[in-house]
């Protein structure tokens, strides 16, 4: 049973992904699409640790920024992109493992956890933002403070620094990376580790009483989320061709949380859709100056918390389920069926 549903899950993912990857470039330019994919991956990283692990991290942007900066600094120094990509995944994961161990073994929960992650993000932001002086260097890379780091080596075919992967090819690269990460997340959640993580989310004490080391498991999950965020950061750096302290900003962290809420917590696809959709909306709003776009984003968030606290994806699934179920029983309950149709 589990096996068949797993296969179906993988097949569905691949089919949907293949469809999206073929259709979307016809609708939106691949350049814009690339960043939507990258944000999708970032959304997925928080969706994993918050939606399935119950860890509300106010500083997911810290790992995004760390990934991007690690990549940029390493790329300037090595002049080749393969090792920097690996480092961009490892460094945030390691950082998160240390921070996570500190928090989870200290039994910090909810708000306190939020404060710590937020504070750490702020520290990183303040630090990076004040490194404009020529004395702040790592190898050949000037940290640049507010200016950020422009002009580093972008993604190339491994071992061949002059064969860049860019433009449409880079979009496909990112899209496939997202699919792979998505499948890995699926696999993780289906493993016993993932099921215990969900168990911890539901009732931490019970899982602890069963003899599992809750703190260690949370730390590992936290680090995995950070690794995914770091990868998306590196992909973002390659796309933007510049990294700036803004990647660490509170605003960036806020956006990631909003994506997850709007897309749907406790789902894998929700945060991805939430991220891509809202990022595209922000992009469209940036081209008009009629209405201030923070106002709209703010209204959307309030609206979702009040009326659709579960997010778009669960809401859509519910509606689909309701209409689907109704069709089966249409003969018996016509009246209720009519009532339900308005929802559908």
């Amino acid at each position: 049973m589990i096996k068949t549903s797993a296969t179906r899950d993988v097949v569905t993912t691949l089919v949907v992904a293949a469809l999206l990857i073929t259709i979307m470039p016809q609708l939106i330019g691949t350049y814009t699409l690339t960043v939507l994919v990258v944000y999708g991956m970032l959304g997925l990283s928080l969706g994993l640790i918050w939606g399935f692990g119950g860890i509300l991290c106010f500083g997911q942007a810290a790992y995004f920024g760390l990934g991007a900066y690690t990549y940029a600094i390493a790329a300037v120094n090595f002049g080749e992109s393969t090792l920097p990509m690996l480092l961009a995944v490892l460094v945030p994961a390691l950082f998160a493992a240390i921070l996570g161990a500190m928090m989870f073994y200290g039994r910090l929960t909810d708000v306190y956890l939020g404060v710590i992650t937020l504070v750490v993000t702020l520290i990183l932001f303040k630090f990076i933002n004040s490194t404009a002086g020529p004395q702040y260097k790592i190898g050949d890379a000037r940290l640049g403070g507010f200016n950020g780091i422009p002009g580093f080596q972008t993604l190339n075919v491994p071992g061949r620094p002059n064969d860049y992967i860019w433009g449409d090819a880079y979009f496909y690269f990112c899209a496939i990376a997202l699919v792979i990460v998505y499948l890995l997340v699926t696999w993780l959640l289906r493993s016993s580790f993932g099921r215990i993580a969900v168990g911890i989310r539901e009732n931490e004490t019970r899982i602890a009483l069963m003899g599992y080391d809750v703190a260690a498991r949370k730390t590992v999950l936290f680090a995995i989320g950070a690794a995914i965020a770091g990868l998306s950061g590196a992909l973002f750096a390659n796309w933007a061709e510049i990294v700036t302290p803004g990647l660490f900003s509170l605003g960036q962290s806020a956006e990631i949380i909003i994506w997850c809420i709007v897309g749907g917590l406790g789902t894998r696809f929700g945060p991805v859709i939430g991220a891509a959709g809202l990022a595209y909306l922000k992009f469209l709003l940036g081209q008009q100056s009629m209405i201030d776009n923070t106002l709209i984003i703010g209204l959307i968030l309030v609206f979702f918390v009040l009326f659709l606290p579960k997010g778009i994806l669960p809401a859509v699934t519910d509606i689909w389920r309701v209409s689907f179920g109704r069709r089966k029983r249409r003969g018996a309950r016509t009246r209720r069926g009519r009532g339900g149709r308005q929802h559908g």
């Binding site: 509300l56 404060v115 806020a254 209405i291 709209i296 959307i300 968030l301």
Partner: protein
């Protein structure tokens, strides 16, 4: 000697401004266990209310101490009725909704006042200490924050409303059982919290250039101070503000303003790691 005095004033000022920044949030959080992430924007609106009132010819002190708290308190009341009251008991959801509200207010204020820096000058002249000039307005801020703490303490300790409020803080179900509607108490609390935020924003406005996004500078500090303070309202506020104010000013004078800010943040991380329930979770238990 003169320098010591100047540094002392600056340190007191840092503590006082942290108290001002955090008080409104502390009231709301302490009473209702609601984290209002639009707190910074409430302060920002307090600043705009003051500037607008002053431009309309109102005396600056009236504008700061009366107009701004009233205006922002009323805005808070509307927000509570429309949004917050649907979310009591859902900590994370309130945080997100108020986050949305903060973005909404930034957008609204931008639409109304534009996104350019505005401000008013300080109404109190600087004065001389030996070879040094000190910003006289610092003393005003120190005074206001002391007055605010005394008023809060007096209201909570000595009035009937304060008694009810304290009761609700400890056991809201018992308060309800005795016939006090938690709904109305929460409404009043949120009004007070917003009004204090408005006051803080108004009083700090002459020192900064005000833009619609100014609130962002306050919220993180307020949030950290309140959480690190722990469950006791006033004792927590004073203890964490003092700690953070001293730490950040020490490093500001010793090294630079940026290091001062970073030191504050590092202190917060260390503190929360050692005392996960905040300062008053361990010390001053049962105090207000």
């Amino acid at each position: 000697m003169d320098l010591t005095f100047v540094i002392l004033v600056e340190m007191l000022y840092a503590v006082a401004s942290l108290i001002l920044i955090s008080a409104g949030l502390a009231v709301v959080f302490g009473m209702m266990k609601v984290i209002n992430l639009a707190h910074g924007e409430f302060m920002m609106m307090g600043g705009y209310a003051t500037i607008t009132a002053v431009n309309l010819g109102v005396n600056i002190f009236v504008a700061m101490l009366i107009v701004a708290p009233l205006v922002v308190g009323l805005i808070g009341l509307v927000v509570e009725r429309l949004v917050i009251r649907h979310l009591y008991g859902r900590l994370v959801d309130t945080m997100l909704a108020t986050w949305g509200l903060s973005l909404f207010f930034i957008g609204m204020v931008t639409l109304i006042f534009g996104n350019t820096t505005t401000g008013i000058s300080t109404p109190i002249p600087g004065f001389t200490v030996g070879n040094y000039q000190v910003n006289g307005y610092n003393f005003f801020i120190i005074l206001v924050s002391i007055a605010l703490l005394i008023v809060m303490l007096a209201v909570l300790k000595a009035t009937r409303a304060g008694l009810i409020a304290r009761g609700t803080m400890q056991r809201s179900d018992m308060a309800a059982a005795l016939g006090y509607s938690p709904d109305r108490i929460y409404m009043a609390t949120f009004f007070c919290g917003s009004a204090i935020a408005g006051l803080a924003g108004a009083v700090l406005a002459p020192l900064v250039g005000l833009v619609p996004t100014s609130g962002g500078a306050y919220i993180a500090k307020a949030f950290i101070t309140v959480i690190a303070g722990g469950p006791s309202l006033i004792a927590g506020l004073i203890s964490s503000s003092t700690l953070f104010g001293l730490v950040s000013q020490f490093f500001t004078f010793a090294i630079s303003p940026v290091i001062g800010e970073v030191a504050l943040l590092v202190a917060a991380v260390v503190l929360l790691r050692l005392l996960p329930q905040g300062v008053t979770g361990k010390f001053f238990k049962g105090k207000l």
